[in-house]
Amino acid sequence: MKAFIKKAEFKQFLKDGITIMIGGFLSNGAPERLIDAILETDVKDLTIICNDGGFETSGSGKLIVAGRVKHLIASHIGTNPTVGTLMQEGKMKVTLVPQGTLVEQIRADGAGLGGVLTPTGLSTMVETGKQIIEVKGIRYLLEEPLHADMALIGGAVADQYGNLRYIKSMRNFNPIMATAADIVIVDPREIVDTIDPEQVITSYPLIDYILEVEN
């Protein structure tokens, strides 16, 4: 972990057209303060990798509603009607990925794998354009790694070293996304002194910056 930062410092990392992973599941565990900080800038043409399209007033949904997203890679977009509208109007590209495949693609990147072979999506539209690999006579889809310029992590309790544990169901995609981006920034709920070594979920070498928590 490099440093605890303020919103203003975070904004300096932003650029038009970058790819950002956003943790959370239907906004549960989403890094809301970092998303709000993006909205305070003019940054646009983002590619967002997130489990879902969030809601119109929370999670990745806020960026979509504000027209900052060029391409959304997600497993589910049903909770944010704006996603469907922008998609139909051709104003935003949407790539739908099975949820288990999405998280495994992110993990593959973070773990230095060239891809994983999954049975999910075989004989469906998901197959389109992908390599099919046979192992012991069974067919699998080759799903390639997903990498981001930046991962925004929420739902966490951080310690002074930058270690994280996660609160309840807010864990979801967060610890996996923390492995697969050039810069990893955390929006924690709370900052404590230390986390027990057996209870750390994301170890500090994976984290670059932590947004300060104002009291």
Binding site: L26, S75, H76, I77, M87, P98, Q99, G100, T124, S169
Partner: protein, 215 residues
Amino acid sequence: MEDKFTIAKRIALELKNGDLVNLGIGIPTIVADYIDPEKRITLQCENGIIGVGPVSETISDLVNAGGISSTIHPGGSFIDSAVSFGLIRGGHVDVTVLGALEVDEEGSLASWIVPGKRVPGMGGAMDLVTGSKKVIIAMSHTNKGQPKILHKCRLPLTGYRKVGLIVTEMAVIEVKSDGLHLVEVHPAYSIEDVVKATEATLIIDHVNVMKGVES
């Protein structure tokens, strides 16, 4: 609409002591209310909960896979999305109950997209139908009078040949290698009613009254 309770109640009878079960949103969620308290059934939510409990009135950091504030049972645990889908795809989930727009004679199902109209996305459904030991479809038998159990799905598939059992307000249909077996009919309907409301060919040999229906 009593129908959804009929369906949920019937499906609850399929669950066995010790089963790890994933309930989709909609009718499947109601199955939880009918589980025999004598059976140790563990409910899994794909966003990362083992042992999810009933929904909660107060908003909390613990949400179920529908994004609704929920609770966790004693002995429950929180996991990340990669571990969660590892369990799902790895065959550790005994039963998945989910809704569908169409099911067909081969046991394929469609549930995630109506091209040009509604595109909620597949979320975790493709992984759940691929990896779970048993897939049960909970749905209304028809949609505005049109059959949903078809010779062949017309909508893009969620899974090819994955369904084991179809439970509707009219009937219970088992998917076997030779086709769809009509095994139970609700007392409010005749076999002919079911056949008329079904496009798919039904194999009819031993038909029983739908279990769990108090006459």
